[in-house]
Symmetry: C2
Subunit: 193 residues, 2 copies
C-alpha cells in the first residue's frame, strides 16, 4: 500500500535494525484518515473470505481494526491484555510473550463473542516474532471460530513471524512489508525488484 | 442519542446500582456501525469549536474517538496508561485513580503531539467519578493545548463526574446520560419529563 509506505518513509523513524518508531501516525498520535484507507484495503483484500468478525489486540490494533470492520460491515472484537489469569466461566486466555516489552500477558476473550461458524479476520498493527498473532489465532479457534485471515499494518519480514504464520497455513496480508532496516533507513520488500 | 439509548436497553446489563455491562457492543465486542454514528454525533455537537485534535484514553475510548476524529477531519491522540513514571524528555504524566479497578495508573503523553494552539476534544467511553477526564484535561493543558470540549458515550450522572467537570468550566456532552440504575433497570435523564 503506497500511501502507507510513503507515510512510513516521511514520518516514521527507524531507531536501529529492530525498532521502527511510528508513534506520530499509528500508535500514539493516529492519522485516522490513513487508518480509514487501511481499513478499506483490508476489506478489499479479504472481501471473498466471508468474514463475520474482525478481532484485534488492544490497544494499537483498535483503530485500523475498527475501520476494517466498518468497511466489511461486521463487529469488532477486542482481545484484551490481562495481567493475570481470570478464573471465570466462559473466559478464554492464552499467555503471550512480548519481545518488545520483555514480559508476558494473558490475552483474554469472553468466548461468547466468537462462535462456531464465525470467520474471523485478525488485524494487528505490527508483525515481528508472531507471538501476538499466534496467541490471537489460538484464542479465536478455542472459542469455536475460524481464522479466515490475518491483516497486518506493518510487518518486519526479516523477523520470523510472517514465515511462521504462513507455514502454519494462515493467509497473511501485510500492507507495508519491511525487508530490512537500520538507523534512519527502511527498505521495503520488492523495492529492489 | 436515541440509537445508543436503545442499544443500552437492548444489549446492556445493569448488574447493580453502579456497574453497567456494555461489553457486547462498546468495550469488548464493538458495534463499529454504532461507533461511526457516535463519531458523527460528536462531530456535529462540537463542529463550531474549532477542534484540531481528538484525544482519548486507551483503550475503550479509541473506537468512538477514532470515528469522531474521522468525521471532524483531525488526528486522534491516544493518552496511554503506563504503570510507572517515565523519566524521558518531553513526556507528560499525571496519576489517575481508577475507582473501577481500585488502582492507579500514569496517564502518559508525548507532549509534542499536543501543542499551543491545539483545541482538543477529549472523548471517553464512560464518565463516572471524572478522574480519567480530569487527568486527560490536565495533560492536554500541560502540553499547551486547550480543552475545547469533552465528549462522553455514557455518563452515570448520579456519580459526581459530570457535575465536577461542568463546575470546572468544561463543555461536556454525553450521548447517554443515566439518571439512575439498579439490577436490570436503567433510567435515562429526562425520561420522566
Amino acid at each position: 500500500m503506497e500511501l502507507l509506505k510513503k507515510k512510513i518513509l516521511e514520518c516514521g523513524k527507524a531507531l536501529n535494525s529492530e525498532v521502527l518508531l511510528v508513534d506520530s501516525f499509528l500508535n500514539h498520535q493516529v492519522d485516522v484518515e490513513l487508518m480509514n484507507e487501511i481499513g478499506k484495503e483490508f476489506a478489499r483484500l479479504f472481501k471473498d473470505e466471508g468474514i463475520t468478525k474482525v478481532a484485534t489486540i488492544e490497544s494499537s490494533g483498535i483503530a485500523p481494526a475498527a475501520m476494517a470492520a466498518l468497511h466489511l460491515g461486521v463487529p469488532m472484537v477486542i482481545l484484551k491484555k490481562a495481567k493475570s489469569m481470570i478464573l471465570s466461566d466462559g473466559v478464554i486466555q492464552t499467555e503471550v510473550f512480548s519481545f518488545t516489552k520483555r514480559t508476558s500477558y494473558q490475552l483474554t476473550l469472553k468466548g461468547k463473542f466468537i462462535n462456531k461458524g464465525d470467520r474471523v479476520l485478525l488485524v494487528d498493527d505490527f508483525l515481528a516474532q508472531g507471538e501476538a498473532a499466534f496467541g490471537g489465532a489460538n484464542i479465536i479457534k478455542r472459542a469455536g471460530g475460524e481464522v479466515a485471515g490475518i491483516g497486518i499494518v506493518i510487518s518486519k519480514n526479516f523477523q520470523p513471524g510472517m514465515d511462521r504464520l504462513r507455514r502454519a497455513g494462515y493467509r497473511v496480508e501485510s500492507l507495508a512489508q519491511i525487508a530490512a532496516m537500520d538507523e534512519n533507513v527502511v527498505e521495503f520488500e520488492g523495492d529492489n525488484e
